[in-house]
């Protein structure tokens, strides 16, 4: 049985998968499980060619971001899990994750929750103390964040390679995932309530994206740089990071260094964070559907949920594991307050495409910024065109 998965734990990805597979094999010695790690880009391309008769390798199980479920159902590549096992339910799943497991408009489960993550702001207490008497208060708003960045930039102007913000994006570029809270905080969404039109071309959306881009524009956050050459919070060449929970364990490994986690600063009037869920689905062409289902159920078990979430520094996707998981550390309590304001992306056929389009827009912005030719007018024009593209997609796929 083959699992296509994404590099969830950065450099430790393969080790973590090996550990998980070893646990599974111990209980299921007759099931042979191999993991292939594909980047999100590669995975996005491959799910559209799964039906290819010349396909080199046929996966049985595939990990996907939560908002791809409607797409895999539409493409006819996902097995109906409710049919495969009528006893399978989402009763214990975190409420926010449920909707994105179903075929839209039905209660048929096509993908099953695995784990999730939440975005937050992490900062070095010693650095922030130098520029603010009450960092938590100041970092409640986006304008407060920018003001703290400006003060930090001034404070550390003699430190070569210093940036107030560490870039948490894997590609080292601008990331839509980090920009989402700026949109949601304005009580704005990608689509109108009836999902018949997009708001990407609206003035508010442009402002939301601009808020996030300002971090790169004002050189508070490095983009498109050689990763190894950049400073980090741990090395003292950065003071803050807008990131998911993943990767922050390095802070705890450094004694004497205190890092605080607070909600993402509000760009609008409402607190908002990005809840990024990861699901598993069974390839409809798989010859090992029962084994694949066995693995899904194994991953959903409380002890495995707790263990794997700890391993990859994410959160368990089921309530029976989530509460005990948070109780493990006082640091995690912050996330208890962030969760109610966290939002997910809608379960729509075109959502993955919309994110791909916006990724392209941000990549273009990033290139313009480093080449010093970025203007807001260029971005606005690009977003107007993007809105038309999305409307066209909506007209074809009806959501």
């Amino acid at each position: 049985m083959i699992l296509w998965a994404m590099p969830d734990s950065g450099a430790r990805t393969m080790e973590d998968y090996a550990a998980l597979v070893a646990l599974f094999r111990k209980e299921n010695p007759s099931i042979d499980l191999s993991v292939r790690v594909l980047t999100r880009n590669v995975l996005w391309r491959r799910i559209f060619t799964l039906k290819d008769p010349f396909h080199e390798e046929m996966p049985d199980l595939i990990q996907i971001p939560h908002y791809w479920t409607a797409l895999i159902v539409k493409a006819g590549i996902a097995e109906n899990l409710s049919q495969l096992d009528p006893g399978l339910t989402l009763t214990d799943s975190l409420p926010q994750l449920k909707e994105n497991c179903y075929q839209p408009g039905t209660k048929d489960i096509y993908s099953y929750p695995w784990w999730f993550d939440l975005s937050a702001l992490h900062y070095r207490v010693d650095h922030l103390k130098m520029v603010s008497s009450s960092p938590d208060e100041e970092l409640k708003t986006w304008s407060g964040l920018l003001s703290v960045c400006a003060k930090l930039r001034e404070k550390f102007k003699n430190v070569p390679g210093y940036y107030p913000m560490q870039n948490s994006d894997w590609r080292g570029s601008l990331s839509m995932r980090s920009a989402l809270p700026c949109m949601w905080s304005r009580e704005l969404n990608f689509f109108t309530e009836d999902r018949a039109a997009t708001l990407v071309g609206s003035k508010e959306f442009k402002e939301a994206l601009h808020d996030y881009i300002t971090l790169a524009l004002k050189e508070y956050m490095p983009i498109l740089r050689e990763r190894g050459s950049l400073g980090t919070i741990v090395s003292g060449k950065a003071s803050m990071m807008l990131a998911r929970k993943q990767g922050i364990s390095t802070f705890s490994a450094h004694r004497g260094m205190r890092v605080r986690t607070v909600p993402v600063p509000m760009a609008g009037d409402k607190p908002a964070a990005y809840l990024s869920g990861m699901n598993l689905f069974i390839n409809t062409f798989s010859q090992h559907k029962k084994d694949a289902l066995q693995f899904i159920k194994f991953c959903a078990r409380k002890d495995i949920q707790m263990r794997y979430a700890t391993m990859i520094e994410a959160f368990p996707a089921f309530e029976y594991a989530f509460e005990p998981f948070l109780a493990q550390s006082p640091r995690l309590q912050t996330y208890k307050h962030i969760l109610p304001s966290a939002q997910i992306l809608p379960n729509m056929v075109i959502m993955g495409t919309v994110m791909e389009i916006l990724k392209r827009v941000l990549a273009m912005c990033a290139a313009q910024i480093v080449e010093h030719r970025f203007t807001q007018a260029l971005l606005d024009k690009e977003l107007d065109m993007t809105a038309k593209e999305i409307e066209f997609l909506l007209s074809i796929y009806k959501g």
Binding site: A11, L38, R40, W44, K51, F54, K74, W170, G172, L224
Partner: protein, 535 residues
């Protein structure tokens, strides 16, 4: 004397000298070999994206394994490092606290640039960059090592080129095979729609398109309609056949007027289906949802395929036209007797098999001979056309009318009992009565009228000739009673004279072999088309 450098190069060459399925497989092998040779902690391969001036990370290899990764480095951010890399083909980064070396991978190759549909040959040199890191023991790279790494880089470059060429060839071969198979299936498919379905599904699957749509022109080539589509799940959708919208007509004009329809940045292509000057239709392929660019090679393959497809569609249409001509009477546009006989046998078999009723109506135009004599054959033909037009527009999709000969017509009404047949007969009678002959000399309008005889399965007979005979006898009674009306056999059976009952009607005597048996498997292709003379 043993030359370690040459030996290392030879070993590396041997390791890479194999057939790789794709670039990923080759890189996995090459990066692992480099890692082991130079005791590296990590080694990376970046794609050089010249248009974006970005190094885009593809793969990382560390102690135990290799994996795909993502990271973008803008060359605009690193001008010094970049200049050195471009000039010398190698650069050591100075920003890191440990030794890291960048090595440029380049090759000379002809390539294509696709802008505004134009194809230009250019030479693209830089293809990627290797990054080698030693962060554990922080051992610096010696000049000898750097030289050797550059040589190995050339070996990687050579193999990358070969792998890419092999992959392209294999891909082309696979596509050609697929298209050949599809063409063969299509060409041997008797029914145009079945063939088109197969072809669209096949093209969508082999070329990984999100959607494929086919638009065809009408037989005169004046209007174009969407006819068939395949969506992302591979489901075939039979389109409504709606004509194109105004904005789409503009696209259509571009498709047919322009010879270059490929745009490299687009994930949609339109391919005209044309034969010399005849517009057959056009195909659209899109990757709007997946956003994958449609490759130029795919475009070329499809373009060749489109010409073949246009020819086959045109042939199939001609075949359908010939069939139509042989199955339909040219004057009345009603099916001819042979066609009717086949359908009648099939329907009767179905009625018997599933216990359904079936009715038969035989009719002729009252005093048709006098109309011909009085007004001429032109008006007689006009009357026949007018009557058949009413028949065609008054029946259901499942009903089968037929010009039996002269002014006599037969209508088969599947799943229809006698009462329901009477409703239809009455409707026909009324509507045909509304027809007036176009003779300006007459003061009074001269209305047409018809006489009809009806028989029903199973009440009036179990075989085709029995049913024909009974309907014929009912018609006889109507004529005897003054014409302009209809009768169901069961209701007028007692009025049929004994001699008419005893003597086989001409219709029955000349009955085609097909109608003697209700089973379609017993159909004879040599059934007679000779008109029936009613008594």
């Amino acid at each position: 004397m043993f030359d370690k450098r040459s030996y290392t190069l030879y070993k590396f060459h041997k390791q890479l000298n194999q057939s790789f399925q794709n670039k990923r497989e080759l890189l996995e092998c090459a990066l692992q070999a480099l890692r082991d040779l130079f005791r590296l902690d990590r080694v990376y391969f970046f794609d050089w994206q010249q248009e974006r001036a970005i190094l885009s990370l593809k793969m990382m290899c560390k102690k135990e394994y290799c994996m795909d990764m993502q990271e973008d480095i803008s060359v605009a951010n690193e001008p010094v490092f970049l200049r050195q890399l471009l000039q010398k083909g190698v650069a050591e980064t100075t920003d890191l606290s440990y030794p890291a070396l960048y090595v440029l991978i380049r090759w000379q190759r002809p390539s294509v640039e696709l802008k505004s549909g134009e194809v230009r040959s250019i030479t693209r040199e830089k293809v990627g960059v290797l990054r080698l890191e030693r962060f554990r023991k922080r051992r610096v790279f010696t000049p000898g090592e750097i030289d050797l790494i550059q040589d190995l880089g050339r070996e990687i470059s050579h193999n990358l080129y070969n792998t890419e060429v092999d992959q392209a060839k294999n891909q082309r071969l696979n596509m050609s095979t697929a298209l050949n198979d599809l063409s063969t299936i299509f060409a041997s498919s008797l029914r145009l729609n079945d063939g088109l379905e197969l072809i669209l599904k096949g093209v969508q699957r082999y070329f990984h398109f999100d959607r494929v749509h086919l638009y065809l022109t009408n037989s005169e080539g004046t209007r174009i309609k969407s006819v068939l589509g395949v969506d992302i799940s591979g489901t075939v959708t039979h389109e409504s056949g709606a004509s194109l919208r105004d904005e789409e007509k503009q696209i259509l004009k571009e498709v047919f007027d322009s010879s270059a329809t490929y745009r490299a940045i687009r994930s949609v292509i339109y391919l005209p289906l044309k034969l010399q000057r005849t517009k057959v239709g056009f195909l659209t392929f899109d990757n709007i949802l997946s956003r994958r660019k449609i490759g130029y090679l795919d475009f070329i393959s499809l373009q060749q395929f489109a010409s073949q497809m246009a020819l086959t569609i045109d042939n199939a249409r001609l075949f359908e036209r010939v069939q139509e001509l042989s199955n339909y009477d040219e004057l009345t546009k009603l099916p001819v007797r042979r066609y009717f006989n086949e359908k009648f046998a099939e329907e009767l078999y179905r009625a018997k098999r599933f216990g359904l009723s079936l009715s038969l109506v035989i009719m002729d135009i009252d005093f048709f001979k006098q109309i011909n004599d009085k007004h001429g054959h032109q008006i007689g033909d006009w009357a026949l056309k007018a009557v058949s037009k009413i028949i065609r527009s008054s029946l259901r999709q499942t009903d089968v009318p037929c010009r039996f000969g002269g002014d006599e017509m037969i209508i088969m009404l599947p799943r229809t009992n006698a009462e329901e047949a009477k409703v239809i007969a009455r409707r026909l009678q009324e509507r045909i009565h509304d027809i007036t002959l176009p003779d300006r000399a007459s003061v009074e309008p001269e209305h047409l009228s018809i006489s009809q005889g009806v028989s029903t399965y199973p009440a009036d007979g179990a075989t085709a000739d029995e049913l024909l005979e009974k309907a014929d006898q009912a018609l006889y009674v109507v004529k005897q009673n003054g014409r302009g009306s209809f009768a169901v056999y069961r209701e007028v059976a007692d009025q049929v004279p004994q001699e008419v009952k005893k003597s086989k009607t001409v219709a029955a005597a000349e009955k085609p072999a097909a109608t003697q048996s209700a089973h379609p498997a017993e159909l004879s292709p040599e059934s007679s088309d000779k008109p029936v003379s009613l008594p």
